[in-house]
Point group: C2
């Protein structure tokens, strides 16, 4: 049985994961929630150090997320991008004017020698976020995707249409190429050599821990990079607190993003059960959508069915409550 007043550790990627992180943040006592963010999609662009998942969490937890766009900052303006385009600059990665402040200030402080976590700590404090927000590591990990080899085709005429496949940097794949290339594997470059953030390790080892929540993020590009950090997977297996994942698949589809497309390309069934299988070596309980009852019926682990689509703030809180209630049911 988990500790009903203990701290909660959540692992999250970008937008989808941040919705549940916000739900947890709103229903838990201040300062009992630690959120560890994927940094595998961090990159350098226009000379700036950009940490998209950390930023999505920063903006979401501080109430500064852009609900209309579904990403970025509330009240964002785009004067910079228009001016950059006029100067012939690279505009495939959309940087809002307010968002730029995060990147410019982070880059300045990184160059002055501060760690990514120290900067994140200061940013979240200044934005009034009481939860701890940590990068999985202060050392760089870079997610790369391998495009599948394709047979030569008379129609393609070379180029991306056919060839031996090759490695793409994450943002090239995700933003510039809009997840269009077919991939056959991923790697987390540098992961073998990094250390998990010490507060992340300490949270995993905390005997008071109430639950570890794998947010409904893309398993391959949001959660796997965190799991690739040495020691994390073993700590999840060894952990006394229940490890609970929330399915990012609803009704056999991804709510947003390339999760379903990637599952198909990686040869997995495109269903909620496949995500639970993906986490099977450490998962204690799986939360799937009511729509996916049939898909998860055969799973050999505890499953809770609930409504998992988070449209309103109330949805986020309700799902967070369901996650914590489920944690009480798990005996380890």
């Amino acid at each position: 049985m988990s500790n009903e007043t203990g701290p909660v550790l959540a692992l999250s990627g970008g937008v989808g994961g941040a919705k549940l992180a916000l739900g947890l943040y709103r229903i838990l006592p201040p300062d009992t929630l630690t959120i560890v963010a994927n940094t595998g999609d961090d990159f350098e662009h226009l000379g700036l150090s950009i940490s998209p998942d950390l930023d999505t969490l920063l903006y979401t937890l501080s109430g500064n997320d852009n609900l209309e766009l579904g990403w970025g900052r509330r009240g964002e303006t785009w004067t910079f991008m228009a001016a950059l385009e006029a100067l012939g600059g690279e505009t495939w990665f959309r940087l809002g004017d307010g968002d730029l402040a995060t990147h410019i200030e982070r880059t300045r402080r990184r160059k002055a020698g501060e760690s990514l976590s120290a900067i994140s700590h200061d940013f979240r404090r200044r934005l009034g976020i009481a939860a701890r927000l940590l990068p999985m590591s202060d050392d760089p990990v870079r997610t790369r995707l391998h495009t599948a080899p394709t047979p030569p085709s008379p129609a393609s005429g070379g180029g991306l249409g056919g060839g031996a496949g090759g490695w793409l940097d994450f943002q090239d794949y995700f933003v510039r190429l809009r997840c269009e290339p077919v991939i056959d594997r991923l790697e987390f470059a540098g992961a073998a050599d990094v250390r998990p953030h010490r507060e992340f390790l300490a949270a995993l080892a905390d005997p008071q821990l109430r639950a570890i929540v794998i947010c409904p993020s893309n398993p391959f590009i949001s959660i796997d990079p965190i799991l690739a950090v040495p020691g994390v997977r073993a700590a999840l297996r060894a952990c006394n607190a229940p490890v609970i994942a929330v399915s990012p698949i609803i009704g056999g589809k991804a709510v947003k993003g390339p999760t379903a497309k990637m599952m198909a390309e990686l040869g997995l069934p495109v269903d909620a059960a496949a995500v639970a299988h993906h986490y099977r070596d450490f998962l204690d309980l799986y939360i799937a959508d009511e729509e996916d009852a049939a898909a998860v019926a055969g799973l050999d682990m505890p499953v809770v069915l609930t409504r998992t689509l988070m449209q309103s703030l109330a949805d986020r809180e309700a799902l967070a409550r369901a996650v914590l209630a489920a944690a009480e049911r798990v005996r380890k």
Copy 2:
């Protein structure tokens, strides 16, 4: 007598100089105007390479200058500054969202090995400016100001109020301290070691040159850095074309900025004649405002009196026409 169809070379600092540069640009045939910008107030801020005078000229000549503010870009937004302030960043130097594009793209290209002049050339071309726009040099010169020593005062209690004086970086003085410190001298750090831009030297030596125009910029912080570049002052003295300066002083006052305050602090009379004296070793003709007829009556060089205040676009063109007409009067 100058060559009535030859090229014109203008030396300019920021806002005031750019007004006359725009007037010249509008009345001269495309591609006969070369404008050399002061780069002594260039600096690094938030990790960005900022060239304020080049940018003022870029924005002004492309019709993108902000007429309401009197500096910066037209249609500017300030989302970045508000977000930076929320993150605890340095906000004493106001960077507009569109302006940031210039700095970020320039910084990226500088780091990739391009020269300041090559980037300026591309920027002005992309913004549709037919005139040549050159930095005085591709090598860095940094204007610094020495604060005057002040006697100890019981009221000041140390700090800026009294002491031995010291050197201030230009933007610290100009923006952060709003030109408030009393100064007793300036230096142009690095100037002795730089080379003038080769197109600047070529323009100075061009036998077809119609005129060299010293725009009504601050002599000490906008024009003197250009004159401090080795070879420039000698080339101005040796030049066959008439060298004409337009007074930045109107009615005994500066239109904008610290020109008059600096003249007083440097022990000069605060009048239009003092600026002509400042340029006396190479100046062939001085253009002063009608209001300053008495002040310039004793000058031992040709003087043209006209209306020099540039409020409207027509004012800028009229002053430019007066400058070129005056050039025809000078025999060398």
